[in-house]
Amino acid sequence: MRTASIDNRNFLLRRLHSLFGLLPVGGFLIFHLWENSQSRFGQLHYNEQVVGWLQSLNYLTLMEIFVIALPLLFHAGYGLVIIHGAEGNWYRYPWLHNRFYWLQRISGIGILLFLVLHVGWTRIWGIWQPEIKADLFSHMQLLLGNPVTFLLYLTGLLLAVFHLCNGLWTMAISWGLTTSVDAQRYWFYFCMLLALTLSAMGVHGMLGFIA
């Protein structure tokens, strides 16, 4: 029998978009923030133990492309398609989840713009400038030492953490994990607690470079 879920790609694409937001993209964000929170252990430790260890991984480029770049590009691209369908009602309904619905979309666009800069300044620039890869700590110290870039990074960080945690909340409803009002509420508390924790971890990591 022909089935809508397979013949009509809409549903599968939406679910893939939802899944990719958590795995691998969200998972990578958490890993990335944990990884960089180790900046506080100093230049030597960061360059050798954190970045050095990562760069010594086999098949690293393949992983970067298939586990990070492509899922992220799909999530971003299809996300833009989803945003296209929204109709403005920010003022009329001042309720939290309505506001978060809009913030989810605004943060998505914000993160995309931030990532172009962020990836450009670090990973892409590092292709032509091996010094950046060799001493990423100093490179980040230089970048974050500038108050404008620091603010930019702080904004990008908070947007990304919000987008992941609010996405985690809506994902639980979309996939049918949380159905009752109480389950949705407590899961929301958990997601917001996670947002606070990840934000703290991220800010801690940023401060570690310039301390």
Binding site: N10, F11, R14, E87, F100, I173
Partner: protein, 251 residues
């Protein structure tokens, strides 16, 4: 006009294609007025605040007890039932607008046929029998199931949830919260569950369940307090399981 008044600003539109305009009416204050009874007073003497005699305001109403869904309109910015909205509970001047997600027929009267075509799209009915008598009594339903289903059975297709939903619109494919809740209701009925798969496939298509943006505005504006977001969560689970069946085979 002397003494205390009730002031109503009404968004008017003469034909489906003419531009809308605003008119203000004042009627003498009386305790216990609701929006429908106030509109009836205006209809008797359709005199604007400027003293101009105009065509009476057109709107729909029917049951006067919040069960038919006909008198939905946007009252002071929120979609509500005009019959159950008491004037004394509102800030004045009271602003009345037609629901914005549907084509205006005239003034506050809108064409809600999209709601019914969406209900048809998701197969929101139960096939009790065919062209013949099946000689079977009604199936038994446990009190728990009955209690839950009763909440959803109160939907009157008034359109308030669609009005508040940023994902819903005339040009959009999304079927809206009410049609989804109807799927939840029919799927959980013993006889209705025969066609659960067809309904799930319908809401797994274009404009189905995954178009929901989780603002949860629907559940806040629903005049019947229908747990629409719980229905959406439950359908999320049903469609997840259906997807697994479609992709990997039945359990």
């Amino acid at each position: 006009m002397m003494g205390k008044t009730i002031d109503l600003q009404i968004r008017r539109q003469d034909t489906p294609y003419s531009p809308p305009y605003w008119q203000t009416f004042s009627i003498p204050y009386r305790e216990g007025h609701n929006i429908v009874s106030a509109l009836m007073v205006i209809r008797e003497h359709p005199l604007t605040q400027e003293g101009q005699l105009v065509d009476p305001v057109v709107w729909e109403f029917n049951c006067m007890e919040e069960v038919c869904g006909a008198c939905s309109m946007v009252i002071n910015g929120k979609p509500r039932q005009a019959c159950s909205t008491l004037i004394d509970s509102l800030e004045q001047p009271i602003k009345l607008e037609p629901l914005g997600k549907f084509p205006v027929v005239r003034d506050l009267m809108i064409d809600r046929s999209k709601i019914f075509s969406d209900l048809k799209r998701v197969r929101a009915w139960i096939e009790i029998d065919g062209a013949w008598d099946i000689h079977r009594g009604a199936p038994r339903i446990s009190p728990e199931t009955w209690k839950e289903s009763y909440l959803y059975s109160r939907c009157m297709s008034c359109g308030c949830c669609m009005e508040a939903c940023p994902q819903y619109g005339m040009e959009k494919a999304f079927v809206g919260p009410a049609a989804l809740a109807a799927v939840r209701l029919m799927n959980n009925h013993p006889t209705g569950s025969y066609h659960q798969q067809q309904r799930l496939h319908a809401i797994m298509g274009d404009g189905g369940l995954s178009d929901c943006g989780n603002t949860q505005n629907c559940v806040r504006v629903c005049p019947k307090q229908i747990p629409l977001t719980t229905a959406i969560g439950e359908l999320g689970r049903q469609t997840t399981l259906q997807l697994l069946r479609d992709l990997f085979g039945k359990s």
